[in-house]
């Protein structure tokens, strides 16, 4: 194995690198990994495969910390997170830095909590995962029903059902009928379902960004409640296939206020990244892009390496928190001077260009269709997790064995 000091340096480098890429609006960690994949042969030769694994984990964890900055200041969320509207609302109240600090607190507390839960989790996971695997269709159908039923009014439940259905049909076309290449199908779909509607909504509704106040008000109770909820939701998302962080956020109980909600959102992303790694180590299952990348370089995952990667996650999370706080202060100092609408539209244009380059005209078509669906929850006032019918409906159909019946109809 590579020298410990080199591994430590790589953990720090990964956190710094992700702190730069994490500020790029709409940049998901999977995109980052897919950019790195062609470099894997060179990197593994130069750094050793353990070194490469440390770099991947460090970047994946740090990304979950830093991506709160473009979410808050530019209104462009990480596609898998879904809603950041509370953070953006705080920005418009001059409290952008507070939104970032709350999300970071959620992330770092969740990192610590998820490690504390880990020994107990390792005992129950083999049984739990067998139950989930045998009953995937029931679990996913149950989640879908819960997402719909937990809407606050009768009308919203009907709207949510409609959105699940529409996004499910889009999922069938894109994922099952191969409208897009499987490797790149998620990027245009998620940008359309989550990122673009948020940007458009914030461009249409937000006024001028006011001067930011660098003062943070939190209650320890809120931090604890939010991070615990975030950790539980993140674990659910990391363990059950097809359950994204935004679905998991919808499954846990409603946060009492915006501050607690932001702590929860930060916690979910980090706990999900951690438990995707745990699932890889314990069961060899890939639940995230970085986990799939790790699996592609390791035939087997040793216990020593797992502990080193846990250490990497801690180092990376610790450093990313400090870097993100620093970046947030910098952003706060000039965000009111920039033309927010111009930046937001440029971000949307940049993302669409990236989709066109990766998936061509078909990618743009999927993005526009997904945008039409993704904008609905904002205007109907229901949870944006309903759009995750995009993933849940095709997976549930597959596990129910309904594909052979339904796919010919759509074809």
């Amino acid at each position: 194995m590579a020298d410990n000091f080199l591994l430590f340096l790589l953990a720090i480098s990964g956190a710094i690198l992700a702190s730069i890429t994490g500020t790029i609006p709409g940049m998901h960690v999977n995109n980052l990994i897919s950019i790195l994949i062609p470099l894997f042969p060179i990197l593994s030769r130069e750094l050793g495969i353990e070194g490469l694994a440390v770099l991947i984990v460090s970047m994946a964890v740090a990304h979950t910390f830093v991506n709160t900055i473009p979410s808050t200041y530019l209104g462009a969320p990480d596609p898998s997170t879904g809603s950041i509207l509370p953070a953006h609302r705080l920005l418009l109240m001059g409290r952008g830095h507070m939104a970032v600090v709350l999300t970071l607190a959620g992330s770092i507390l969740s990192l610590i909590l998820s490690l504390m839960i880990l020994p107990m989790f390792m005992l129950v996971l083999p049984i739990l995962s067998q139950i989930i695997e045998k009953n995937t269709s029931i679990v996913l159908s149950g989640i879908l029903l819960f997402l719909i039923a937990s809407e606050r009014s009768y009308y919203r439940r009907i709207y949510a059902m409609f959105i699940v259905l529409l996004s499910g049909i889009l999922g069938i076309y894109v994922l099952d009928l191969g409208f897009l290449d499987q490797d790149t199908a998620l990027f245009p779909s998620f940008v359309g379902l989550f990122t673009a509607p948020t940007i458009i909504h914030s461009v249409l509704t937000s006024g001028k960004v006011p001067r930011q106040i660098i003062r943070v008000r939190t209650r320890r109770k809120e931090l604890m409640r939010g991070s615990l909820a975030g950790t539980v939701a993140g674990i659910i998302s990391g363990v059950i296939p097809g359950v994204s962080p935004s679905i998991a956020a919808g499954l846990i109980r409603k946060s009492r206020n915006e501050r607690e909600y932001l702590v929860t959102i930060g916690g979910i992303n980090t706990a999900e990244a951690m438990y995707a790694m745990v699932m890889l180590y314990l069961l060899g299952a890939t639940r995230s892009g970085p986990a799939a990348a790790l699996k592609s370089i390791f035939r087997d995952f040793s216990g020593d390496l797992f502990v080193v990667l846990i250490g990497t996650a801690l180092v990376s999370g610790g450093l990313a928190t400090i870097l993100a706080m620093f970046l947030s202060r910098k952003f706060s100092s000039f965000v009111e001077k920039i033309n927010y609408r111009l930046v937001a539209i440029s971000v949307l244009f940049g993302l669409s260009s990236a989709i066109f380059l990766i998936s061509g005209v078909r990618g743009i078509l999927v993005e526009i269709t997904a945008l039409g669906i993704g904008i609905l929850p904002i205007y109907f006032g229901c949870r944006r997790g309903s759009c995750m019918g995009f993933l849940l409906v095709p997976i549930a159909m597959r596990s129910l064995g309904l594909n052979e019946l339904i796919l010919p109809v759509f074809n």
Binding site: V308, L314, T321
Partner: protein
Amino acid sequence: MRGSEKLLLKLSLSCLIMGLSAMQSMGVNNQIYVDLGEISSELNGKIIMTWGYIFRAEENYLELSDGSSKLKVYTEKKGRIGDLVIASGRVKCWEKRCYLIPRYEGEVQIRNREPKKVSGIENREVGELVLLEAKLISEKDYGSFSVLRIKTKEEEIKVFSPKRLELTKGRIYSFSGLIVIYKGEPEIVLREVRELG
């Protein structure tokens, strides 16, 4: 910097320290690489990494050989004679015999190998997995294993079979197995035997 940010800073520094000590204590450097032949009771309790070819594959262990030395690795993983195994774990020695106990199944990596077709083993290297056609000269049964003598066009070869076989003398078979050194002489540890014609 106010209270919440100070708290975050403290948590970050704690994470950095915990992470660094986890990386250091697990000590990827503590694991030393040792050749199979160098494993002795001096290494008792140490964590090592080694490699060898499967010499015997049983339900709960694989016996590895590098051609001249042997080592039992306790694992549930399945492999075939001649497959290359890279294993790490803790060395346990008892009455001058040492075993390797992997801490996790992931510490045993098996690389499947296919045999190379040859006509004799005289100029072959120890550890090679070979396939040859030969006539069975004799078979001596030792209960749980048997020792065969076979003859190719080029030479007469001793074959160790970890299982008892019931073959017919004078018939031609294809034998695949691993070349090892036993008491200074090369022999084949049988992986598979098939009757020809």
